[in-house]
Amino acid sequence: MTEPRRITSVEGTALPMRGHDIDTDRIMPARFLRAVTFEGLEQHLFEDERRGSVAGDRSQAALHPFDDARFAGASILLVNRNFGCGSSREHAPQGLRRFGFCALIGESFSEIFFGNALIIGLPCLTATPETVAALMEQVDAHPDVALRINLETGVCEVGDVSHAVTLPPNARDSLVTGAWDTTSLLLERYEEVDAAAARLPYVGGWSI
């Protein structure tokens, strides 16, 4: 179990994963959920569309970004709209985190995916479609270029250029203060939880 830690910045090279509405079944096919731990999930990201897979050999003439050696070691994943839609499987962000990604930048994210990533300390920052396209083009042209994301100021620097990248204020605060691992927080002042439960008639067997 990772100890809570402050996450204020992420720096590293990036991997562009183009396409809207990339669902969690694509990110982590269901057969890899057949295990009682998250270990090893990083080996199966996008498995069904990558080199050597049936579907990958059939439909992907171009090299899959996750097979592209130029992007090896990337710590920032660039995505388009509604990334992570579909199933609530945390196995998708767990696989990405274990693969080595420390942040995602995209046009938008599915709500459940965003929450699953946040709670394991993986920020999903949003940027305009133009910014995402510019970042993807730049990374394609110069795969070794480093991106520097400052979560507190909401800036992603690439060379001399600064791009605006945003997080909802609550998510940003929880990351930069180290409060993103919420369980301990929810267990504080537990008498207030009992008080809230006691107000609900269905919890008390409809006696109130």
Partner: protein, 470 residues
């Protein structure tokens, strides 16, 4: 002169009633009234508790079943599938260790988690409900606020019976008028997703209203709320009414006698006020709706059963996505969807595996036979639905027509057990997702439609308009 009355939505009322406090992160700490668990998204959550030496805060508000990975044919233990055996064994041990009730494999109450919660009367109006599955939105059909969550959040709920949540906006989706024959709740929700988009609901709860929704049975409302998440809305709900109360009356976990009357009064009070304000509103005319079928790789990519599959020329932008989907599906833009050959017909899933779904599908297949090249299966949503269907003789109708009749589970909706598509098979499915690889074959192709349309496709051996068969 008092303070002007500000109407509230059901979402706001339930949210306020369940708020414990505002967290330092700005999120709301929300009490969860019912936590449903299953074998696939919980093992790591229980490990998380053990590592920190935590207990389950409210085992009395937690209930488990097995659905995702279990076989739907031979259920002899131990399973031949050792990974499935491992996951089921893990849930059984965890429930025993932490004192959680479990409707396990041999329990008469076993079934898909979103089918049995309502069926047992555990799902009730005004509750907050969480489950490690995105289709938890189903429970909103009862006027509950129900969230699909990931495994770390399952750990949060187990440990604290709470979630740290961001507030949601509310979009009211009114469906007015009478649905034409052959048009079902599934067609309504697929049309909503098509119109509003697969990410249109991000940040919103969808409130389904209007007289077409009000006339719907609880089964139909569940089908609609179930697929809210396919439109990007994590939460979908229908305001509770007499239909809701009548459904709940007499169910095992529902209150009885005077308590039931008190409950009905409270349940009525949490419905949205007539003057509630919404962040957005959409109106749909039921008369305009037709049976629809998905042709692509997300649930928004659908077309009328008598329509043509779109081509790049039909749209401004988004052409790449259409081409990618057509390529994966092996289809041509401009081709009619009707007449498309299917290899498999699957009736099941948390969307459409309830008794009324099976009755409607049986009505279509009665007196017909499944086309020779089609493999067809019916997987009831719960052991209880299976028993009821058998009492009515529906199993015989399906078997005689050439369908396989299985035990309850998630089955071929997500292909986590041995019920999978093979190669590039085309499947007419009553389930909820047509994502690439969803049904267990990386190149498998899914066409989503109503259970009656799946039955029609099974008989015809190709996509067929149920209105012509009925």
């Amino acid at each position: 002169m008092g303070v002007p009355h500000m109407g509230k939505t059901l979402l706001q009322k339930v949210w306020d009633l369940h708020t414990v406090r505002a967290l330092q992160t700005g999120q709301t700490q929300l009490f969860i009234g019912l936590h449903l668990i299953h074998e696939v998204t919980t093992p790591q959550a229980f490990d998380g508790l053990r590592v920190r030496d935590w207990r389950v805060a409210r085992p009395d508000r937690t209930f488990g079943t097995v659905d995702h990975i279990i076989p739907t044919r031979d259920r002899t233990r131990p399973f031949l599938d050792v990974l499935a055996e491992d996951m089921i064994g893990s849930l059984e041990r965890n429930c025993q260790e932490f004192g959680i009730r479990l409707a396990g494999l041999d329990d008469s109450r076993q079934g898909i988690v979103h089918v049995i919660g309502p069926e047992l009367g555990m799902t009730q109006p005004g509750m907050t409900i969480a489950c490690g599955d995105s289709h938890t939105s189903t429970h909103g059909a009862f006027g509950a606020v129900a969230f699909g969550i990931g495994t770390s959040q399952v750990r949060d709920v187990l440990a604290s019976q709470c979630l740290a949540m961001e507030p949601l906006k509310v979009r009211r989706i009114e469906v007015n008028g009478t649905l034409p024959p052959g048009v079902y709740a599934k067609d309504v929700v697929l049309t909503i997703i098509h119109r509003l988009g697969v990410s249109g609901g991000v940040g919103y709860a969808y409130e389904y209203a209007g007289d077409a929704i009000e006339r719907m049975s609880m089964d139909e409302r569940m089908t609609i709320c179930n697929m809210s998440i396919e439109g990007g809305a994590r939460v979908g709900y229908v305001n509770p009414d007499q239909t809701t109360f009548e459904y709940l009356k007499g169910r095992p976990f529902a209150p009885t006698a005077e308590a039931f009357d008190r409950a009905c009064a409270w349940w009525s009070s949490i419905a949205s006020d007539a003057d509630a304000e919404y962040d957005d509103a959409v109106v749909i005319r039921a008369e305009e709706l037709v049976p629809v079928v998905t042709w692509g790789v997300n649930p928004g990519q659908s077309v009328a059963v008598d329509g043509l599959i779109p081509s790049v020329q039909d749209v401004d932008g988004g052409g790449e996505a259409i081409n990618e989907a057509l390529d994966f599906m092996g289809l041509q833009g401009g081709q009619p969807i009707a007449g498309l050959r299917v290899d498999v017909a699957f009736i099941g899933s948390c969307t459409n595996s309830r008794l009324s779904d099976l009755r409607e599908a049986a009505r279509v297949v009665r007196g017909h036979h499944v086309a020779p090249h089609v493999k067809a299966l019916v997987v009831p949503g719960s052991a209880s639905i299976k028993r009821s269907a058998e009492q009515e003789g529906l199993d015989e109708v399906f078997r005689t027509a050439g369908f396989e009749w299985r035990e309850a589970g998630c089955s071929m909706c997500l292909g986590m057990n041995s019920d999978k598509l093979e190669g590039s098979q085309v499947c007419a499915a009553s389930s909820n997702r047509n994502f690439k690889g969803r049904q267990g074959s990386p190149t498998g192709r899914t066409l989503l439609m109503s259970p009656a349309m799946v039955a029609a496709a099974a008989v015809a051996g190709e996509v067929a308009d149920v209105r012509r068969l009925a």
